[in-house]
Amino acid sequence: MRHVTCSHCNRTDVPVNESLHIDDVVYCHNCVNTTFTEDQLKGRTVVNEFDPTVCSNCSKDFGDTTLEKVAQYPMCPECTKAIHEKSFPTWVKAFFIGILVVVVFSAVYNWRFVEGYKEIQAGGKAMGVGDYKAALASFEAAARHVPEQKDFEPLVHFCRGVTFLQDDHSAEALPELEACLEFMPADYNVSMLITQAQIGAAFDTKDYGLFLQHTKSFLQNDTTQAMSWAGVASAYACLYATSKVDSLKDRYIAYRTKALAIADSANQNELAVYINRLDHRIETGDIITAKQFSEKFPNGWAKN
C-alpha cells in the first residue's frame, strides 16, 4: 500500500485511496470533510487517485506490486478475471428467456389472426377480379380462423350466393343473398342479385308467370341494360312456348327489339347468343337452359 502526506494536517501515512487531489493539492478525506463545504468544491478540480498496489474491487493490499488496470481501476488478477467473465445474474437470464418466450407466444397465439388477415386480403383480391369461388374459400377460412369476428359472415353469404348464381343454382343462391342484404354496402348491388336469383329460381321451377314478374322488376331497376330487356323477352318466350298465345309472342318481339337496339359493343356477343336461344324457344317451344343449349348447339341455332 502506498501513502501520501496531507497538505492540510501534514499527516504522512494517509493511504492513497483515502486521499483526494483538489486543484492538485493532496488532502486526506478527514480534512476534505472538515475544510470544504459542497459549495466550496464547486468549480475546483477534484481527482480521486487510486493506489496501484491495492485492488479497487476486493481492496486486497499487494504491498509493493503494481497492479494492472481495468479502465482506470487497479485490479488484482482474480478480480480482473472475474470482471471480464462477469455474466448475467440468473434472474436476468430467466427474465430475458421469459421475454423471448413471450415473443414466441405472441406470434403463436396470434397466428390465427395473421392467417385470418391474409385470407381476408386474398378474399378481397379475388372478389376484385370477380373470382367469387376463390373469395368464398378465403372468407370461409378467415371465419374459421377468427370465429369470434362475425363481420365475415355477410361476406361469406355474399360470395356463396354469387357462386351459386354463377353455377345456375338460383334457388340455393337466394337465401344466401337475402342473409347478407342488410349488411352489405349498396355498391354490392345485393338487391339486384336477389332479383336475379328470384328470376333463376322461377325459371328453374317453371313458374313462368313469376319469372316474368321478376324480370320486369329487374328491368325497372335498370332500363339501360340490354340484358334487362332481354330478360323480359325471355319470360315472354317461355310463356309463349307453353301457351302459344300470339300476343305473348308479340310482346317477346317488342322486348327483343328493344334489347337489340340498346346493346352496346361490350355485350353484343353475349346478347346475340342469348337471343339465339330465345328465338329457338319461340320456334320450337323447347325451354332449355343455357348449358343445355350450348351443348346441343355449340355453333348456335339456325332456323331451317
Binding site: 462477469k86 455474466s87 436476468v92 421475454i99 396470434n110
Partner: protein
Amino acid sequence: MFFIPGQLISLATFPGVIVHEFAHMFFCRLRKVAVLDVCYFRVGNPAGYVIHEKTSDFLTTFLVSMGPFFVNTVLCLLICLPAYLPIKYFNIDHPLSFALMWLGVSIGMNAIPSNQDAQNVWEEAKVHAKSGNVLAILSFPIVVVIYIFNALRVVWADLFYGIAIGVGIPSLILG
C-alpha cells in the same frame, strides 16, 4: 402534457429498463468489454446502468452504446405486431392482447440510448472520423438525434417512440 416522475415511468415500464441494460451488458460480453458494475433495475435515477471500461475500437463503442436501440426496438416490434392485429383489424379487445401491447411498448419506450451513451459514441467518433471510419462519421447525426430525443423526453418522446414502433409500424404493415 402532464408531468409524471421518471421513477413512476420506470416502474411502469420496468421490462424495458431491464431489456435496455441487458442489451448493454450483452454487447459488452459479445465484444469482451470489462463490466465494472451493472444494475438492471432500481427505483432511482438512473433506473439502471452498466459501467464498463472504455474501448478504443469504435465498432465496440457503437454496439455497446447503441445495442439497446436495436434490441429494444426489434423486441417491441416482434411482440406488438401480432398482438396488435386482433385489436386493430378484428376489433377483439382481449386483455392478453393489451398486456402484450403494454410489454412491447414499454420495451420500445426504453430503446433510445441515454445521453451518456451518446457522449461515449461522440467522443470516440471524433477520434475515428479523422481516419475516415464511415460508421464514426455516420454516428454524428445519430448522436445529435439522440440528444434531441432525450431533451424531448419531458414531452413524452419515449412514449411516442414506443407507440410509433409498437402501433405505428404494425398499422403501416397491415394497411
